[in-house]
């Protein structure tokens, strides 16, 4: 039998499922990917077919392993990372989904979350989360409210709930489990005890019998049919935090995609935010204590560049934003606050709408391109300020990943605006890498966190290059522009 040499990670994302195989140094050996359908039955509704996703996962797993000429015996462990909050209900007896999966972006629970407002402080205190359509709890409640028969079956434990990690673990190992980071996104788990909480369950109206068992992020949950240990599960943003080896309090990663997610490791005590951030579990390795994180979500960053491309036609590819922005030396006095669907962290103002402020006859498309890139940087700054205030820790470097890190001007602007170095790590696929790391730790493929740190290398670093006076002046202008987005939508 060949010696196991690699770790595989399934990255079950919002638009596709991927499987990436890594070697011991964290290098990518092979990648396989399949997209799944986005189902939009009504405005604001977004669904996935959980059966299709499972079939895709099985296929990419086989493809990534055999496509690289590997044999099952060479895979030492399999890890899972997944789109968070997306809610699947299935039948215990048959394993068949009973309803389409409700995706995290789906806003059908808007009215329901307003109706739960009396419990807002309970959720904030015990679950660490604000009431929002985003999380799984309201999605389960909505499904059970639609069909009394379904609720009865859920109460008898015949219909089960799971986020995507649970759904994949059920299909891979036959066990009904979830990892603690995914459970921390349901509004049903007490972030202090890390168990399902009767008060939260009662307030949300979800029966305990349908819930999976909460397990650590890294342990051997079971084995695949081919005997590969399934040994980690983490929500995607938590996996990126782990893949960036942010193991010490204060270490922070930021992933730049359509939106952006900053997570700061806050150590072994949950920090309840006073500044509009979420408290979430970062990871828990085996029987060790849980590591918590503060999370700041920014709704519109990369998608603003796409908007400039698709809605205004100022550029023909996202990368050209940098070329256009470099046709000028500065923003020409122009600021762009992309509050397209309100402002997320740290403001949480649903009445805000987008604004381009400071326009004069001097401003041209190059200045607007600058303002677009600066919008991502200033939104990051606002979240970092909130994190520093909540945690009492000071950010010393920002570890950036995601597609937008290819934009050098954005990375330099981030360093200028944050006044700390911005670092891009060598492996851009930090999400899958995080799941692989956790699975490799659980199975002894990697001995400890230090061996993972040794794998982390800087691919590039940008250092602050503007003076404090310029930074303060620009931040003041940005805040003035943000103020002008508020109170737009009349309630």
């Amino acid at each position: 039998m060949p010696r196991p040499h690699y770790v595989a990670a399934i990255d079950q994302g919002t638009t596709s499922s991927r499987c990436i195989v890594f070697d011991q140094a964290g290098n990518i050996i092979s990648v396989a990917q399949r997209e799944h359908r986005q189902i939009f039955p009504k405005p604001g509704w977004v669904e996935h077919d959980a059966t299709e996703i499972w079939q895709n996962v099985e296929a990419v797993l086989a493809e990534a392993v055999s496509g690289a000429g590997l044999e099952d015996g060479q895979i030492a462990a399999l890890g899972i990372t997944n789109q968070r909050e997306t809610t699947v209900l299935w039948e215990r007896a048959t394993g068949r989904p009973v309803r389409p999966a409700i995706v995290w972006q789906d806003t059908r629970t808007d009215a329901l979350t307003h109706a739960l407002a009396e419990h807002a402080s309970l959720f904030r205190e015990k679950a660490g989360l604000p009431l929002a359509t985003y999380f799984s709890g309201p999605k389960i409640r909505w499904l059970l409210d639609q069909d009394p028969g379904l609720r009865e079956r859920a109460e008898r434990g015949e219909v089960l709930f799971g986020t995507m990690d649970s759904w994949l673990l059920w299909n891979l190992t036959g066990r009904h489990l979830t990892d603690v980071t995914n459970a921390s996104r349901t509004m049903l788990m007490n972030i202090h005890t890390l168990g399902w909480d009767d008060d939260l369950l009662a307030a949300m109206g979800v029966p305990r019998a349908m819930l999976p068992e909460i397990r650590p992020s890294a342990e051997v949950y079971g084995h695949t049919r081919d005997g590969v240990p399934v040994a980690s599960a983490l929500g995607d943003q938590q996996a990126a935090l782990f893949g960036q080896t942010c193991f010490a309090p204060g270490e922070t990663k930021s992933t730049y995609g359509s939106g952006s997610f900053l997570l700061m490791n806050t150590g072994q005590e949950p920090v309840v935010s006073k500044h509009g951030l979420l408290t979430t579990v970062g990871y828990r390795i085996g029987d060790g204590p849980a590591t918590y994180a503060l999370e700041g979500a920014i709704a519109v960053t990369g998608s603003l560049v796409q908007w400039l491309r698709d809605n205004l036609g100022l550029i023909s590819s996202a990368a050209e934003i940098e070329t256009l922005a470099k046709t000028v030396d500065d923003n020409g006095g122009c600021y762009f606050v992309p509050a397209f669907s309100g402002l997320f962290a740290p403001h949480w103002r649903s009445d805000a709408r987008g604004v381009i402020a400071g326009l004069t006859g001097f401003v041209n498309k190059g200045h607007i391109a600058r303002a677009v890139l600066e919008a991502t940087a200033w939104q990051t700054r606002e979240v970092v300020d909130a994190m520093n205030a909540d945690s009492g820790l000071d950010l010393t470097t920002l570890r950036a990943d995601g597609g937008m890190t290819a934009d050098n001007l954005l990375m330099q602007t981030l360093a200028d605006v944050l006044a700390v170095p911005v670092i891009r790590p060598m492996v851009a696929e930090t999400t899958a890498l995080g799941a692989a790391y956790a699975a490799g730790l659980a199975t002894g493929y990697w001995p400890d966190l230090d061996s993972l740190r040794a794998n982390w290398h800087k691919a590039a670093e940008w250092r602050p290059a503007i003076d404090e006076a310029a930074r303060e002046r620009e931040y003041r202008n940005w805040k003035k522009a943000v103020a002008r987005t508020l109170d737009w939508v009349e309630q």
Binding site: I28, E320, T323, A406, N408, M426, V427, H457, A459
Partner: protein, 249 residues
Amino acid sequence: MGDTIQSVERAAAILRLLASGPRQLGVAELARALGLPKGTLHGILRTLVHVGFVEQDDTTGKYRLGATLLHLGSSYLDVNELRTRSINWADALAGRSRESAWIGTPHEGHVLVIHHVFRPDDSMQTLQVGTYLPLHASALGKVLLAYDPYGESITPPLQAHTKRTLTDPARLEAELAQVRARGWAAEMEELTEGEVAIAAPIRDARGLAVGAIGIRGAVERLAPGGDLHMEFVSYVRDAARAITRDLAR
């Protein structure tokens, strides 16, 4: 307005007409629309087909705009787009070779560094994106010269950066011929004493070299005893081929 060339004007009129709708046009239709004899049109159309600006349908014999013409306006590959499409492969190249990885494009008689990945040893390094390298004294530059689609030759004098820099245009030309023959370029302490570099061409969907990717490092690691380790050459060529494949999609 000064003198204009009539046949070029007529060619432009044909192209405009073919671009005006989705329909293919026959010689008779073109002749009628332009008020020109068919014989005159045949000569111009034959030339336009020859350069790929117009295509003739095999079955109907009618004419339509050619693929070459359609690509003319959109063929310029933005350097930031090139970086975005290359970034994973450049990371992998640095990871495998344990050396710094570089991507360069031609810019006004120099190599413009458009991407730079640090050597993965966490030593102090500074990002070199936006700096220039000499064409004749760098591996990236030699690749760009060897595959220059315009075939422009470099104008002497060639500045000596070290005692090993190629400053004789004839010797440089001979080396460029070798680069074309084997598909990669080496720089043996020609830019900086003690440093060696390797580079290979990145081609776009039309097969034109739009940039070069390579690695740079200490001579003791890449070429101990003066001979390049060929495994480094294969890493560089693998990365160049992977990016070329991506750009063709």
